[in-house]
Every structure is written in C-alpha cells, then in structure tokens.
Symmetry: C2
Subunit: 341 residues, 2 copies
DNA sequence: TTGAAAGCGGTACCAA
DNA sequence: TTGGTACCGCTTTCAA
C-alpha cells in the first residue's frame, strides 16, 4: 500500500499541491473552507507532510543535539532532557542525545567526527566542561550553542546555570549559623575536565568556613574527598567514621551522597538531627526519603529555559539576557538543628 | 559562509557527486584511494552528508518514536531510553520521545493526530497498556511495533517484558520460605489502562500466599493498596503502622516504595532485618542505600534488546523469537532473614 | 569502480 | 487566496 503523496491529496481535494502544503504548514494562509477540504482528503488518504522533504527544502534539520557527560540516566541529565523535550517536541524538534561525552576518547571521537555537523539546528551542552578548542569546533557548526551548567558559558550563544559556589556558600553559612563547630565537607573527586559545575561547590564551602574563621568564629572544618565510582558512598562513610571525633555537621556535595549517608550513619548510631546536622545539594526527588535539608535546583526548568532560548535564537532573534545564573535555594527539612543541642 | 555541497566536494576531489555520496554511505564501493581523496576534500570543506536529503531519497525517516506512560524521568523509563539510545544512536536513528501518554486526553491527542505517521521507521511502546483499537491505529503506520513491558504484546511485531507475576510469586515464596507468618503486600493503586505490568505483581503475591495456605501453611497475609501520587509512601507507612500487629514481613510492589519505607519505619523503631523482613522489586540503583533484598530487572538491557529487534525488523528480517519474557531474579542483600529470629 | 541523470516529496517565490 | 514551477541535496539505477 503505497503512501498517498501530496499530489493525490491535491487531486482529491481539487486544489494544487501548494495549497495542500500550506494547509499544513501555514493554515492561516488558506481559506477556512479550502483548508477543511484539504485536511479531510489528507485524513482519508492517511497523508501527512514528510518531515524529511520539508527539512530538505527549508534547510532546517528540525533536530537539535544534546551533549552530556556520563549517562542520561543520572538525575540531573534526565531532568534536563525532560525539560528540553517538553518544549522542543511540540515545536517539531527531535533531540539527538549524545551521552557519555566525558572521557578523553569519547570526547575526541565526538569532536573529531562531529556527527551532527550540518544536521542540527542547535546544540545543547549539559554539565560538561568544554575547552576553548572544543567550543571552537562547535561554533564551526554555525548554529546556536546553548550551555546548561557548563563551564565557558560566556563563549556560547546562551547559557543557564546555577550558582554552585554561592549555593554551597549559603548552605555552609546556614550550618555555621546554627552553631556548628566541627564541619566536614564530603565530595567526590573532580573528574578531569568534566562536570566542573559540581566542583565549584567545594569552593563555596571553603569560602564560607574561611570567612567565618576570619570573623573570629571557632571553627574546625575540613573536606573529605573520595574517588568517584560505585563505592564512593562507602568510602565517604569509612572516612567519616575514621575521624578522631565525629563532626557535628556534614555538608554534602550532593543529595546522592547525603541521602545514603544518613541511612548508613544511622546504623552506626549517628542519629540526625540529634547527633549531627547534614545538608545536601540538588533536592532530588528522594531527598524527602530521609527528610533532607538541602539546596534546591531544578534542572527540568533549566532545560525548559534553555529550550526557549534556543528557539528564540533559531528564529534569529537576539536574547537580551543570553546568560542566566540561578541561585539555588535552601529547603529546610529535618536534618538540621541548632547546635549545641 | 554557505555550506559546501556535494558538488563542490566532488569538484575539489576531482570525482563525480555519485562517488562522493558513495564514499560516505557505501565506503566499500569506492576504491581506497578515491575514498581518501573524497574524505579529505569533504573534511577541508566542512562537508557532511545531509540527513534530510538522504532520508527523502531513501524513504527512511531515520527516526523512531518512543511512547511512554508518565514521565521519562522515572527510573524505568529513562533506563529504557538509555538502552534504546545506546544502540539506535550509532545506527543513525533519532528517538522522538512522547511521554505522558497515559491520561485519556494525552492518549486521544496522540492517537488522533498520530504526529509521527509516515515519519518514523518504528514505534516503541513502553510500560503503557494499549487497547486493541490503539494497536490498530499504530499498525496503520505500517512500521515495526515493539513493546516493552506492555500489555497486548502479542499483537505487536515484537516485545520484551519481564514476568512480573512470576517475579513477585518468587519473592513471596522466599519470604514464606524464611518462615514468615504475617506478610503484607504494599502497592499503589492501579491506574486506569496504564502500566498494567506493575499490577501483575499483586497477583503473584496472592497466588504464592494462597498456595502456601492450601499446602497447610499457617499464614496471615493481606494487601495494602494506597492511592498513587506524591504521598503514597506516607499513606503506606500510616496503614502499616495502623495495623493491629505489625507484620513480620513486607513485600513491596517496587523499590521506590520499599526503600523509603525502610528508612521511615526505622524512625518508628522497626528495625530491619531484626524486627521484620522486607523485599522490593526492580533493584534500582539506590536499593543498596538500605541494602535492600529485591527482585532485579534491567530495563536498560530491555531497551537494548528491543532496539535490536527493531533494527532486524527494519531490515526486513523475521525474528525467530519476537516475543521475549524475562524472569526477574532475586538479589539477596540485607533486609531478609529467617523467622522467627 | 565511476559518472550521468532522474527523481525523492515537499516549499516558496512569483504571477494571477 | 491560489496555482505553476524551480529547486532543496542527495541516492540510485544504468551505462560506461
């Protein structure tokens, strides 16, 4: 059963193919009556506009590329994807997902072959730190480049990111303000040239502690860095338990670390918030499994925003605020309390 | 800077456009020497084959559609997507994600407008129960239809799903085998015509209990069903705590329910496995946050498998085993123990 | 192994 | 508002 083409529909509706085309892509340029006739015929013949034919003629790919570190299954990445998809899908764009663009090889492979060159209308870069050289290569595609929690935002056409450093600074200040004295920051080691966003948080912690000390506060702070990988929670746990004195407050680089830490520490008799305070970062869905106090960011909204920026750029508009920085906000739940108790 | 087209490359390489085309799409039909010449010229001119032009000519959309219940951010859905993308991306296929195809309206909207008609090479249906009428509409697209944990699998061209009922039957038997007497099954209410896969689990539980009783076992079992929604964990918790006697074993419809239950119950003094055993279903990443014993399924692998089936079908091959049913397997961790203790 | 030429199915300009 | 028509950029016979 060969698919009906635009000519058959035109004939069936008694109009020209131009009119059929317009009835679909520019309904307002066709009279109500004609449009109905066309749409009815099209429907009867199971006709739909061919995207590839349209793309060929207009020169628009109707596709965007999304580059991400690591796997799309991570909390942040899939939220971003959902946000992008929610707005781009309806506008007729497909999203080609290139994940695991993090190791040296996958990066080189991608940037060398540039599989999307001339075949996408925009490129989104999420949570990977790209170097100037790579930015240059992306720019050579001559399509809008939008960053989401990416370093080098300024060299892109638009970007949106949260202020990781400021966020962790605030979180730490909160703990200090509660009266805590022995604070430790737990984080996973920075991966080379990857996800620099998350690493900025450590600087926020340090800054908050240093300025508190400078202001005369009696503070005993330190950071614990554990290697990335599936065992990072156990490593962090072990290091915490090995401390001379267990801290009275823990500041976590991310909820993904904070949540399991709370449940594991409970097994070792450390109750929260009776024995210590702990604060996370991200506010992922399951933060409330342990009633975690945390800094909230909303990557799905960031995806939506990024998509809107991209749509505007693709329409040729100029953004009056291309680069946006969001402040995460503190969500107070049950894992923090004044100290000493 | 106008993009170089195939003619310029042909001229630069001193060959015809046919040869340029073949150098990209059928490298083996072009002599080594010629190919290198072409590729070099193409590279220099920043030329790449246009996907839309190719699609138009070949009649292949190089796109597939993925229909999903609810949001792509759910554990199951994003794992499936990752699996599909991992194998389809390299084969040059985009995945158009249509999520939230669950409510009556979104379903009707999708099936009425059939936004992908004639514009995809295959359709995947994940975790949504589709009715015969909808299957019919999908079939009218004349492309392979692949189900992933979907009802009505048999009416599709291929499918893969886990045996939810058998899985929960096994899980329940395990608890009974440990000696447990007072077992409760906790699940969220079935949504209308959606995600029937998960609902089959309840039947497995009941079957296991009934046959144990029939075999003379002294068993006190019941099910607790809580409404879906953000509060389903609290509801389940409340119902459990309101029981005349707290059960000695809990069987959970999914990890998403089991994990937070373990941490919440701890606050009420119910320790696992000292006081009760609990078993989950899915084995999502964070099951080990509470060291959960659970039934494992691997939706990412299912995505991969589904993708391979689709690729074969798109090549026109016939599958000798189009419909696959996977048995989840029991992963023993720390939340189960013989009873009485 | 390579080249010539005829489309693939629309879009959009131009004219009516 | 509608129709005629020249492409869009590549793939693929067919012949050389």
């Amino acid at each position: 059963m060969a698919r009906a083409d635009i000519h058959e529909v035109a004939k069936a509706a008694g109009v020209s193919i131009s009119t059929v085309s317009r009835a679909f892509t520019r309904p307002d340029m066709v009279s109500e009556k004609t449009r109905r006739k066309v749409l009815e015929a099209a429907n009867r013949l199971e006709f739909t506009i061919s995207r590839s034919a349209g793309s060929l003629k207009t020169g628009q790919a109707n596709r965007v590329a999304l580059l991400m570190n690591d796997t799309i299954t991570s909390w942040f990445n899939v939220q971003v994807f959902a946000g992008l998809n929610a707005t781009l899908r309806d506008e007729g764009y497909d999203i080609a997902v290139y994940d695991h663009i993090d190791t040296a090889e996958t990066r080189r492979e991608f940037f060398d072959t540039m599989p999307v060159r001339h075949n996408v209308d925009a490129v989104f870069v999420a949570s990977i730190a790209i170097d100037p050289n790579e930015v240059g290569q992306l720019k050579s595609m001559h399509v809008p480049l939008i960053g989401i929690n990416t370093s080098a935002s300024d060299s892109l056409d638009a970007s949106i990111r949260i202020d990781d450093e400021e966020g962790m600074f605030t979180a730490t200040q909160h703990l200090i303000g509660l009266g805590h004295r022995r604070i430790v920051y737990v984080c996973s080691a920075a991966a080379v040239s990857l996800d620099a966003s998350v690493d900025a948080r450590g600087r926020g912690f340090i800054r908050a502690c240093e300025s508190a000390v400078e202001a005369g506060r009696d503070l005993d702070w330190q950071t614990i860095t554990v290697p990335r990988g599936p065992e990072f929670i156990d490593s962090a746990l072990a290091e915490l338990l090995a401390l001379d004195r267990f801290p009275d407050a823990i500041c976590c680089q991310m909820d993904m670390l904070a949540i399991p830490l709370v449940t594991r520490l409970a097994r070792y008799g450390h109750r929260v918030p009776q024995d210590y305070s702990i604060i996370g970062f991200d506010d992922m869905q399951n933060a409330d499994w342990v009633n975690l106090t945390t800094m909230r960011q909303n990557p799905q909204d960031m995806g939506r925003d990024a998509a809107h920026k991209a749509l505007a750029l693709m329409r040729g508009e100029t953004l009056d605020q291309p680069h946006e920085i969001i402040r995460p906000r503190l969500v107070l739940r049950g894992t923090d309390a004044p100290f000493p108790r």
